[in-house]
Symmetry: C2
């Protein structure tokens, strides 16, 4: 049975992992006959957003690994401790956490830096030729760690696509139900909530992404 | 298109709404052709649990409505402000939040009290003869607000079942893939993570529950 690493970035679309994308990823992996393990970096969140008002909360901090543990029902590990030999592939759900906690693309754009443990993990997976899937805004992690002109999508947002291209990627427009595959680099991306108007729309693309990741992991 | 109220109790299995059960409920409603609106009481959580260590966090408090907003991507309303005429049915996902924040069954057992706005909502829905579904431990909310000997399930946990029976219910054992229906009172229950060993197991029962709720709402 294939074992998929699911890399979370907190718990909540505005400051962490997008919750529906994360759960839909776990569901698709389970339904398609593979198993998964959740992981996250043990670092503080960039900030905490009140999801009711969408305003930052002052004087409060939360830990990415602890908040990600909410999605994982406590069954989660520090990405720094992961032995990639135990995994056949990795998937990164989206949410602003991917662009605020796993890297700082949401703040610094093309000048962004990738969190060290996360960068290490992605590089090691790539060196081992294991497929990796990135959902929603998580493709912001890709350009610095993969070869130039790598094919990816974040849907059709022009500014975001342009920034990814400036960093060296080759953005392709895609619909919410579609995936973009860079076969040579075993990389799969799908827009999910960059475009989704409903949870079933997000589910369609995520199901396809998981299917392709499992196929590439053969 | 039928409109389903989904009542959340925070964000995270140990102190709030079970995240997978909540997302799977939204997915099933959407996939089965209905729409939903999330809601929660605007009260403080009973406590905050670090989901990595499963220990309570001292000197920290979180608001049930604000944390539930994470699951709802910000699209959520205070249950106190709900006009039940806008809804055809209601579903309550589980997680300890249902038994710590919506009522205090997890702390006080058969002596539990139900949060006032939540009790008012359930009673109004019942008076209007609208179907209601309760997942996992959320059936703890039922006995005090429905007629004696109402049929329900929380799976097969003997102590919990006995406590619900002491409060007046008539517990029926059920598997994770099953639902228990009290047709007369338009009440549907399923064990989900009271029994589930995987997310797809929880998904099976929740899908059935949503299907039955939509059928009863006809």
């Amino acid at each position: 049975m294939k074992n998929i690493a699911v890399v979370l970035s907190g718990c909540g679309v505005f400051d962490g992992a997008e919750i529906s994308e994360s759960v839909l990823t776990l569901l698709a992996i389970d339904c398609q006959g593979a198993k998964y393990k959740c992981m996250a970096p043990n670092v503080m969140q960039h900030h905490v957003i009140n999801h009711l008002t969408q305003q930052p909360v002052e004087n409060v901090s939360r830990n990415v690994l602890e908040e990600s543990a909410r999605i994982a029902r406590g069954d989660i590990i520090d990405i720094k401790d992961v032995d990639i030999n135990n995994f056949d592939a990795a998937i990164f759900p989206g949410g602003f956490g991917a662009a605020k906690n796993l890297c700082d693309f949401a703040i610094k754009g093309t000048e962004c830096a990738i969190q060290q443990d996360v960068a290490e993990f992605i590089k090691n997976m790539r060196t081992a030729n294991k497929p990796q899937g990135f959902i929603c805004i998580a493709p912001a992690l890709i350009p610095q760690l993969f070869p130039k002109n790598i094919k990816l999508t974040i849907g059709n947002d022009k500014d975001t696509a342009e920034n990814l291209n400036k960093m060296g990627a080759k953005h392709q427009e895609a619909k919410v139900s579609e995936i973009v595959v860079d076969k040579e680099n075993k990389l799969v991306t799908t827009p999910a909530y960059m475009l989704a108007n409903s949870i079933s729309e997000a589910n369609a693309g995520i199901n396809l992404l998981v299917k392709e990741i499992l196929a590439l992991a053969k």
